[in-house]
Symmetry: C2
Subunit: 471 residues, 2 copies
């Protein structure tokens, strides 16, 4: 029996896709990576995943786990050899159970994030992970990349939101690690090791997730700032004054918001005059366990003090959910307005908060010196030091002029990120995109440890080869 | 140059202890494990640690990292072969820096926990890890065992409190991983792997810790309950009503509190009549970022509703810090009262909250059937499912009668923990104490993965051999 026949015998012929049917799985959604797969297999159970992996191990066929295919670093796209199997987890999409007393839920890897959020909500709980792709990304992909999003400040990354895992090892064994325990110190942190390993150490098939209480009320404020230093002073005040009720702290450069209102005239900046021309704005979100009125009161105290102390120039506290949404909509529209400026170069980096101002000022100046005329599109989750530091083409530049210099821009920005103790991938992972530059920024001892672990768990090198580490 | 001479040349003769000087390091503080060391070396810097490890690797000398020597599972005690080196980290006790804008601090492994808490406090921040041994345990030991304590519910274990590590590998290389980043997805979770590995994968020499805002006020309440089911209903209400302000939820069996007030007549239970005779009590702590008055008000709402709903029988909300302390003191005195009952058998286990009642009722009954007359001492951090499920000798039992059956008691309790999806070590680790029974309760795939990782990182097997895993 040849390999593909064995696959068909395992998952049923309709779940083994080849040729044109396999094509959509072989391209990432931004169409930056285009590969060729031997086939796409779509198992319907953990046992089927294990059987597939055993076949692959026996035949030496590399395999690439794939969820919603919404990744930004090519981590789920095959190379163009046509030899690797894409293992689509999309049919593994059951919510296996919700335990409200234990505040946990057990879900399969192929569950779409939004379906998980909804199921938690229906059970009167909050699953706090939230990100732009939530309508199509899957929990398996969120786990593989240790996804972050806008509420990391309060709830942490995917790693902090997960208690247990079920994993198929590169040998095709199943590790039944779906524990719903907040305290368990019986050996090595295998859960944390598989999370964020981008499918290079095994296939995550299910997870036990942590649930949180639903906030009773949410309130949003938009604050106008004269500098990053002021934004950091405001962050300190908001943390001290609001404690864990502060669930979001987004920083946006003023030009980003001006571009949004220019591109989308139905949106407006809720400031006028000088306050509408400031270099930075911060969007704060407060989640309250009492009431809307209490949420607003708390905001008023902290924002009032910050205005008085001079670290905020102007402020709007949303008076309704509609206004909260309008403020968030400004923030969420930045990537769309950015698209309108031409193809940009994106950096998903993190920086110690204390070095944020130094990084932005120094890097802005160095980029202008090296590439005069380029435009900066800077926004991010200041609360956890995560910056989307993007570079757009200059006004009127021919298409391709900026992208031709992409590697130079990457190198300049990443070198500066590294110099201030930052990370070149905050929340998107490494995939293919940053694999080759990783050794430039990682301690060689750390790289060596990673290679040792990869070799120990996947000695054949069949799990998502060429991702994260050079094979 | 012989091995000990090389040690003296590395750290200076006064920092190499042998004979009687080495004895105190070779016994755990509860005197359950007594070993013999080749010597104790006390390095004063990370470079000295690395040099020592390189010597050990070359000579094939096993080494045992040791912090405050307060562990409960023999994880830092040598065997009796006299061949292993104890590597005491106590001289590595500098607080290297505090970054209040980034809310991080960098500390060496030998820092005593209380000194770290104090330094954070002096900088206007909270380092929330808190446990009984905080006056003598070290951060290195807290990291090695992924320590928990009373505030896990809100702040997580040591793993969630740590952002970066500096580690000396079993080859004597230094991994400089002291990153102060909340978002960093550039490869495998080495930090999480070293944390909780009990010194079997390398030597943690320093860490970057996460700081939190200081709460403005704390308030404590003691609630009288008729059943564990009621305690769980109360936990749900407290989580929903207080959100992240709920920083502690301790469950105590009624007989524990009666024993405390019998042993320590200066303490009293703040209830009378039937309320002083209930089977369970819960101690709740609320940390507020507004005021004492606000903290009390919030407690009154949640506790009032719970009383009305019948899931709480009686309640006392502390009216002052002194009263809060008195309530906590009751909880903290349980282990001392327990000591007065004779040598007991302790279980540090965790259980899914939803199966807590079933576990306690079933295990209590099974223990009484197997060992008629034994006494139960049950308390723990219900909020994170962590139970100290202890068994004391029956009234008037001869010394040794219970301890002679220790292995049978362990097996009965741990089998039941396992049957409800719990963990046989919630927060104390494995060490020597639970090493041999671990394979009985762990998925064999998980054990195999752990052995693979151990062999990959420490192929010579010199790092704390015989701890966690059978060598």
């Amino acid at each position: 029996m040849d390999f593909l026949e064995a696959m068909r015998a395992t998952v049923g012929a309709p779940n083994v896709l080849t040729g044109a049917d396999a094509q959509p799985y072989s391209v990432d959604w931004r169409e930056r990576y285009r590969g060729q797969a031997l086939a796409v297999v779509r198992p319907g159970s953990t046992d089927e995943v294990a059987a597939i992996v055993r076949h692959c191990a026996q035949a030496g066929v590399p395999l690439i786990p794939q969820g919603g295919n919404t990744g930004l670093c090519g981590g789920a796209t095959p190379d163009d050899s046509g030899q690797a199997l894409i293992l689509s987890l999309q049919r593994l999409n059951r919510i296996r159970g919700i335990d409200t007393d234990n505040d946990t839920m057990e879900v399969e890897a192929g569950c779409v994030l939004q379906a998980v959020q909804q199921a938690a909500h229906d059970a009167g709980r909050l699953f706090p992970l939230s990100l732009a792709a939530e309508g199509s990304c899957t929990i398996g992909g969120n786990l593989a990349t240790n996804a972050g999003g806008t509420q990391v400040l309060r709830y942490g990354n995917m790693r902090e939101l997960t208690l247990g895992l079920e994993v198929v090892t590169p040998q095709g064994d199943v590790w039944h690690g779906l524990r719903g325990l907040r305290n368990d110190n019986t050996g090595y942190a295998l859960r944390d090791l598989f999370i964020g390993s981008e499918g290079t150490l095994g296939v995550i098939t299910a997870a036990t997730l942590k649930l949180h209480p639903q906030p009773v009320a949410r309130c949003t404020a938009l604050l106008a700032l004269d500098s990053i230093e002021s934004a950091i002073a405001l962050l300190g005040r908001a943390r001290a004054g609001l404690g864990p009720a502060l669930t979001g702290f987004e920083l946006m450069a003023g030009n980003c918001l001006l571009d949004v209102v220019r591109c989308f005239p139905q949106q407006r900046l809720p400031f006028e005059g000088a306050s509408a021309q400031l270099p930075w704005y911060a969007l704060l979100e407060l989640s309250d366990s009492e009431s809307e009125a209490h949420a607003r009161e708390r905001f008023e105290v902290v924002v009032g003090d910050a205005l008085e102390a001079g670290c905020v120039q102007d402020a709007v506290i949303a008076e309704s959910m509609a206004q909260s949404h309008a403020l968030w909509h400004l923030r969420e529209s930045i990537p769309l307005a950015e698209k309108d400026m031409g193809k940009s170069i994106k950096h998903d980096v993190s920086i110690p908060v204390s070095r944020m101002a130094e990084f932005v000022q120094g890097t802005n100046a160095a980029l202008q010196a090296a590439f005069p005329g380029i435009r900066h599109v800077i926004f991010g989750h200041l609360g956890d030091g995560n910056l989307h530091y993007n570079v757009a083409p200059g006004e009127g530049w021919a298409e391709g002029r900026l992208l031709a210099r992409q590697d130079d821009v990457y190198a300049l920005v990443h070198d500066r990120v590294h110099a201030v103790g930052g990370s070149i991938s905050a929340e998107h992972g490494v995939g293919q995109l940053k694999r080759d530059v990783l050794p430039r920024y990682k301690d060689p001892v750390e790289m060596a440890l990673m290679h040792r672990i990869k070799a120990a768990l996947d000695p054949q090198g069949i799990m998502n080869p060429g991702k994260v580490l050079v094979a």
